[in-house]
């Protein structure tokens, strides 16, 4: 048996070595990486930091929201435990800045005196409205590209948080040998290296009320944290409960093992 296992290991190592060689030969794009400080939400005791999420929300609202929707997030979620920790009054104020469809009115009219559909300020129960009326409008305004919804973006990409952070900080000039498509931008982290989205973050794109310096890395870090929260809003609760469950199971396993030894002590087996 040991012989079989050894042969298997050697074959496995050989195949893996070949595999690595092929990958290097193909010249793969740079691998997504985490920021130097790492992510507060990773690990067994992972959690979000309210100030980071609030700064990230500011980046989303001032930069991303121009093109990207947040379909599955409601304004009320901004006040949920384990989230950015806005107060309900703050959430009301944030929601009031957005317009959502309203009408028909009591006369059955759907258009106002200017011939535009009725709108009203959003309330906490509303979901973030999309910047576009439909996909066609989105594409028409973005040279044919469709900006994806961001609610789940960090779960909808491999290694999502690192990918997003790397993408946002990874824009650079295209190497000379790359033939760029029309209206495309070079980013080594994007599949195919050519992305329709122009570089969204520049030094000082937003002004943080808490005085944090708005470097590209800082904004990318904050908005990635925020979008991790939109994708996985129950993460803190999950990891906290996980610790309790695992601790309980360890104790239960120990007790059951002891019971097992007791029950079987007189049986030859």
């Amino acid at each position: 048996m040991s012989l079989t296992i050894r042969t298997g290991t050697i074959i496995g190592a050989f195949v893996m070595a070949l595999n690595a060689g092929a990958a290097m030969a193909a010249g793969e794009a740079e691998r997504p990486h985490a920021p130097q400080e790492g992510w507060s939400f990773s690990g067994i005791f992972g959690h979000y930091e309210e100030t980071t999420l609030q700064r990230g929300f500011l980046v989303y609202e001032s930069v991303c929201a121009g093109c990207h929707a947040l379909e599955y997030v409601a304004f009320r979620n901004l006040a949920d435990p384990g989230g950015p920790g806005f107060t309900l009054d703050q959430v009301r104020a944030i929601a009031a800045n957005y317009r959502v469809p309203a009408g028909p009115d009591e006369f059955g009219d759907t258009l106002d005196e200017n011939g535009l559909p009725f709108v009203r300020p959003a309330i906490p129960a509303n979901y973030f409205p999309s910047p576009y009326d439909n996909e066609q409008q989105a594409r028409a305004r973005n040279w044919g590209a469709l900006p994806p919804d961001l609610s789940l973006i960090t779960k909808a990409r491999v290694n999502g948080a690192n990918y997003l952070y790397s993408l946002l900080t990874g824009y650079e000039d295209a190497p000379e040998y790359v033939e760029m498509g029309e209206n495309m931008n070079y980013n080594p982290f994007f599949p195919g290296q050519q992305i329709a989205m122009v570089q969204p973050l520049y030094e000082g794109s937003v002004e943080y009320p808490d005085g944090t310096e708005a470097t590209v890395e800082q904004m990318a870090y904050d908005v990635t944290n925020f979008l991790m929260w939109t994708a996985e809003p129950k993460l803190e609760k999950r990891k906290r409960m996980g610790f309790q469950v695992m601790a309980f199971l360890f104790v239960l396993a120990a007790l059951l093992y002891w019971s097992y030894r007791q029950v079987w002590r007189d049986v030859d087996h």
């Binding site: 012989l3 298997g8 599955y72 990409r157 599949p191 999950r238 409960m241 996980g242 695992m246 199971l249």
Partner: protein, 483 residues
């Protein structure tokens, strides 16, 4: 039942009940007094673990169905509603989603345990075959369930898998359209898949009852592979195996819950968090990990079978792949008769044992092939050379180009003056699909060649006369001489 009933009604009510519906007697004889070989190891705890998995999937699944909507326009959103707004919805969904992977992890261990200890052999052939039916039903249920979130992988997995049926001549396409409920995967597919995903677990439950019934007729196999000779070989199921199974179940739960709470999406595909889009095909369509070996078998056959030296094709590659896929599971039904050895446990089969581990390597290898792109190059010898060969003043000249396009452009330019010919010298490439084919052949060779032949030519080691003797002498046989 294979043994005398030892149930003693204790109270007046139990006597009254026992005379009318002896359900307490059945429970007592089946799960309490049931005589069980005393030498079962931890690999035998997975039967109980699997029962637990089935119950967990049914309970969480019924709860999810209360909040899920099987309409293509809002199915994805309803899953997000469960994740965000339903109380503990995220927990229930992650337990269910990770649960499917854990269910398959357990069933694969259970199956390989049966293979190692010969649990499929007389008198347990039907027990084994019922198990294979459960396995097939599990695969169908898992596939149907994977479609329900209506993400990109859901949609495209449904498209790819239902397309398998179109390989069948004449009736294939009508069958596929009937299954899908239209000419392409859409809302009718989703609604019927939801209905069937709710139905099949109860069918599984029914077959599990038959599986357990058959088990209780023949009794457990055991690591020694020797049948029970008498009461000295057995102990009652309760408390001995209830406590051992409970301990093993909690160890299993530690792994299960570690995934649920710390890596709930590690076993899934990120593309399934993108809503289904019939107009955008994902770069790689892959099933969940537990179906990858079968996916590899399906895709590894890329040649037609025809009459040599003619263009007549008898079986197209696509159909051949489907046949191989079906055969890879059907062969499991024949296993009890393909294995010609009378010795059950591989402990006493020195020649068969290495083949068993090789078979595990083959299955894992197939899983790897299934996960990768079939075109992926594993070994390349040499470089592609696109050459233009022509003659200048009586001297043959050959010019090498990196791409065929460059070369063709050159020839076109040249052809105004001289006649040049294109010669391709392509590098030798060993690709994933080739490895897949080798492993597919190895998979079938294990069942169709190794098991029948080794059983005949092998000299088994001496076996203990009884379980009692195996236990007293220590479960391990004397070390074999080096081979």
């Amino acid at each position: 039942m294979a043994h005398e009933s030892t149930y003693q009604p204790k109270s007046g009510f139990e006597r009254w009940l026992d005379a009318r519906l002896p359900v307490m007697r059945l429970m007592h004889d089946s799960f309490s007094a049931f005589p069980t070989p005393k030498n079962l190891n931890y690999w035998w705890t997975f039967g109980g673990i699997l029962t637990f998995c089935l119950v967990v999937q049914i309970v969480t699944g019924i709860t999810l169905a209360m909040h899920y909507t099987s309409d293509a326009s809002i199915a994805f959103g309803s899953v997000e509603h469960i994740m965000r707004d339903v109380n503990f919805g995220w927990l229930i969904r992650y337990i269910h989603a990770v649960g499917s992977s854990m269910f398959f992890l357990a069933v694969y261990i259970h199956i390989f345990r049966g293979l190692y200890y010969g649990s499929y052999k007389e008198p347990r052939e039907l027990l084994w075959m019922l198990g294979v039916i459960i396995f097939i039903l599990m695969m169908a249920t898992a596939f149907l369930g994977y479609v329900l979130p209506w993400g990109q992988m859901s949609f495209w997995a449904a498209t790819v898998i239902t397309n398998i049926f179109t390989a069948i001549p004449v009736i294939g396409t009508p069958i596929q359209e009937w299954l899908v409920g239209g000419f392409a995967v859409g809302n009718p597919t989703l609604t019927r898949f939801f209905s069937l995903h709710y139905l099949l677990p109860f069918v599984i439950f029914g077959v599990v009852l038959l599986h357990v019934w058959a088990l209780h007729v023949t009794g457990n196999n055991n690591p020694a592979g020797i049948e029970v000779k008498g009461p000295q070989d057995t102990i009652p199921f309760n408390p001995y195996y209830t406590v051992k199974d409970a301990f093993a179940l909690v160890l299993f739960l530690l792994v299960y819950m570690a995934f649920v709470f710390y890596a709930p999406n590690a076993l899934g595909h990120p593309d399934n968090y993108i809503p289904a889009d019939p107009l955008v095909t994902p770069a790689h369509i892959v099933p969940e990990w537990y179906l990858l070996p079968y996916y590899a078998i399906l895709r590894s056959i890329t040649f037609d079978i025809g009459i040599p030296f003619t263009d007549i094709v008898l079986i197209e590659a696509k159909l051949l792949g489907v046949i191989a896929l079906a055969a890879s599971i059907i062969v499991l039904f024949l296993l009890p008769w393909l294995d010609t050895s009378k010795v059950k446990s591989l402990r006493y089969r020195p020649m068969m044992k290495p083949f068993f581990f090789l078979f595990i390597v083959v299955c894992v290898g197939l899983g790897w092939v299934g996960a990768e792109s079939p075109d992926k190059v594993l070994i390349q010898i040499g470089e592609d050379q696109y050459r233009a060969e022509y003659v200048v003043e009586g001297e043959p000249v050959a010019q090498v180009f990196p791409t065929a396009d460059d070369r063709d452009a050159f020839i076109e330019m040249l052809n105004e003056d001289v006649e040049a010919s294109a010669v391709d010298a392509l590098a030798f490439r060993f690709q994933m699909v080739h490895l897949g084919l080798i492993l597919t052949v190895a998979y079938f060779a294990h069942f169709l060649l190794v098991l029948p032949i080794v059983g005949v030519i092998e000299t088994p080691r001496s076996r203990p006369a009884s379980i009692e003797e195996a236990v007293l002498k220590g479960a391990k046989p004397a070390p074999a001489p080096a081979e």
